[in-house]
Point group: C2
Chain length 391, copies 2
């Protein structure tokens, strides 16, 4: 007996679209069942964090976002997954040293408040830090009084310059980040440190970053931890693993299967599912979910999953390009895809995101990207549902 | 050089209280710094999930809560921590088989929707399941039509009884759980299955359970996954690790340390911190944070952390009992506490929770449990802050 299952999800973000197959698993019944939970655990969490990271990086408008989430993640492998997914979603670096080592992700961070508190004064603490890290020196200035801290950082920065080194910048971790960054920038510029960066952290997310930018904050590097590594405002991606077709033997025909529900969004889609993304004018135009037994050819007719009266007709001649999103990864028990480094996947995500219109990616009331069933598949699904409901 | 640090947090729940030390670490500087992130990662997450579980179990009013969160956790060790913490917080069992094995937690679950969809009909699927699991048979009835599913479960349940077995019950996983459970209960009772349990799941949390109970739902076992294992509505406990005292050598006096902030809740507490819980009339009355160098004796004067004009005076003679909450776990690099099984810790939590007035544990506008600094420590903290601020 052979199964075809898919994982599909409904996240808030901008990478995965409503009820779109994320992965397809085909194989003997027991094998497909055994890997269900592992796949859901991995795909749900990493997709969620990569999506959240992409949103945060979008708000940062190209300025580096550093992932600082280790202390709020779930255990070591939770944190490793989070760091890797955050990097893939667009973060520039992580404070998770092990993730940096394992996945070749740049590692960045500053000293802790306790570094300052170990010395008799903030000034001495900065001097000692500058001696230890002369070429990678970002001072955390808010242990006692932020703007006084900036002045001490400048004092040490001047001494460093005298010795042939350059202070990297300062980090703000509390208080009114808009006001403090503007004042700190003035102090740094006036003292001859226009290139010193201002790193900020403190429960940041895409909405706070957007707001700080709107207020004219002069922050140029964003440290984001808790809200990123837990995807704080939507901490789970509701991906599920559903049987979509079954057959007795490899040469038998597939029986399409559907799970009903009184909640429309919980009704599954039958078939040997694949997703085709079509591009018009070099922009992603729509995603079409179809069954591989009956691929769309020269005309694309989409039916909205939740409202079957919403339809979209796409002429083949209008399309610049189209790609099938699901690619074979394991075949006959062997990985055929080739391992890809996090950096490469990150670059692919970045290119992929540029293909979406900004209206789809905005945070407030985004335009809904069209995702629908290929018309023939929609009709098969309707027929199956009606049969099961005895109509 | 020796450090004393504490982790303290501000969660939403009812187990940990505002800014209370959760753990104290004392030792050489480098050692204390090396374990910081591991401790924060572990303590933050497990405390959060145990708290969430306690809230959910409270809503279930003694009915069993099953933890079903594996597919939404962060990786394998995230899920193991979540399952263990959920059990400690009061859950009756987990669907995480590995957690069950490692921590001796009861394992419970039902079959998947795909079990039903593999067979030619729901009835045949139930019959096959009953044959496989004659003594532990809970039927998931919502694959096609929930109440029709209940009728088929009853049909198979009658056949099981004829063969000397008893159906365990049914599980609802979608739709209007209040209505469906009431209707299912009627069908089960009328058919002679008054003892068959009704398990329900579907994005449940303490608020939904409370609401379902208020609506008269006849659910007696609660399956809770996503919202528990991610602590959905507050997915991170903001515990931090702060240096609170330092000394040169073991025989030198401690220098108390405080981290300032423009955000009052981010100012740390200095000292060799300990927390004493006092009981009056067999109920937890207040928690007093003090420095071990100067323990409270026969009078307890508490000062609120956030509002120093709010004070509480407790006469020694009024107190039934008092305990110090922080106990030594590692001493000189060796674990001296003894490993405790999850079951034992769970029992201790359950007893501990009964000591709190229900007003403190309610979900809407709970009474704020008094947590404060011992007056002498408050004064030392104020003096340090004033000095650092140059007043």
């Amino acid at each position: 007996m052979e199964f075809s299952c898919d994982i599909h999800g409904v996240p808030e973000g901008t990478i995965v679209f409503p009820h779109e197959p994320l992965i397809r698993v085909q194989g003997p019944l027991y094998q497909c069942q055994l890997i269900e939970t592992m796949l859901l655990n991995t795909i749900n969490f990493e997709t969620l964090i990569a999506t959240k990271a992409a949103r945060i990086c979008q708000a940062a408008q190209g300025e580096p976002v550093l992932e600082f989430g280790l202390r709020r993640a779930q255990g070591i492998d939770g944190s490793l997954s989070a760091s890797r997914a955050a990097y893939i979603g667009g973060c520039a670096a992580t404070s998770n040293v092990l993730a940096g080592k394992l996945f070749d992700i740049p590692v960045k961070g500053t000293h802790a408040h306790s570094w300052i508190m170990c010395f008799e004064s903030e000034l001495v603490a900065f001097e000692e830090y500058a001696q230890s890290m002369p070429n990678n020196c970002v001072f955390l200035v808010d242990t006692y009084d932020t703007l006084e801290g900036v002045k001490k950082a400048i004092e040490v920065g001047k001494h460093m310059r005298h010795c042939g080194h350059e202070m990297g910048g300062i980090r703000l971790d509390s208080g009114d980040l808009a006001y403090l960054s503007i004042e700190a920038r003035k102090l740094l510029d006036a003292a001859g440190f226009p290139k010193a960066v201002i790193v900020a952290s403190n429960d940041l997310d895409e909405h706070l970053i957007e707001s700080l930018k709107a207020q004219g904050a002069t922050i140029s590097v964003w440290g984001v931890g808790t809200k990123l590594s837990t995807a704080y405002d939507q901490p789970a991606l509701g991906g599920v693993y559903k049987l979509s077709a079954i057959r007795e033997g490899k040469h038998d025909p597939w029986n399409y299967k559907v799970k009903l529900s009184e909640q429309m969004e919980k009704i599954s889609t039958p078939g040997i599912l694949q997703v085709r993304r079509v591009y018009i004018n070099n922009q992603a135009h729509a995603d079409i979910i179809y069954s591989e037994e009956c691929p769309p050819d020269d005309v694309f007719d989409l039916v909205d999953i939740f409202d079957s009266t919403r339809r979209k007709h796409i002429e083949y001649d209008d399309i610049d390009d189209s790609i099938d999103l699901l690619l074979p990864i394991f075949e006959k028990g062997k990985c055929t895809f080739g391992s890809q480094c996090a950096r490469y996947v990150r670059d692919q995500v970045a290119v992929g995101l540029t293909k979406f219109h900004s209206g789809i990616k905005r945070f407030a009331n985004p335009h809904e990207y069209p995702v629908g069933l290929e018309k023939g598949l929609h009709e098969k699904k309707q027929k199956l549902i009606m049969e099961l409901r005895g109509h």
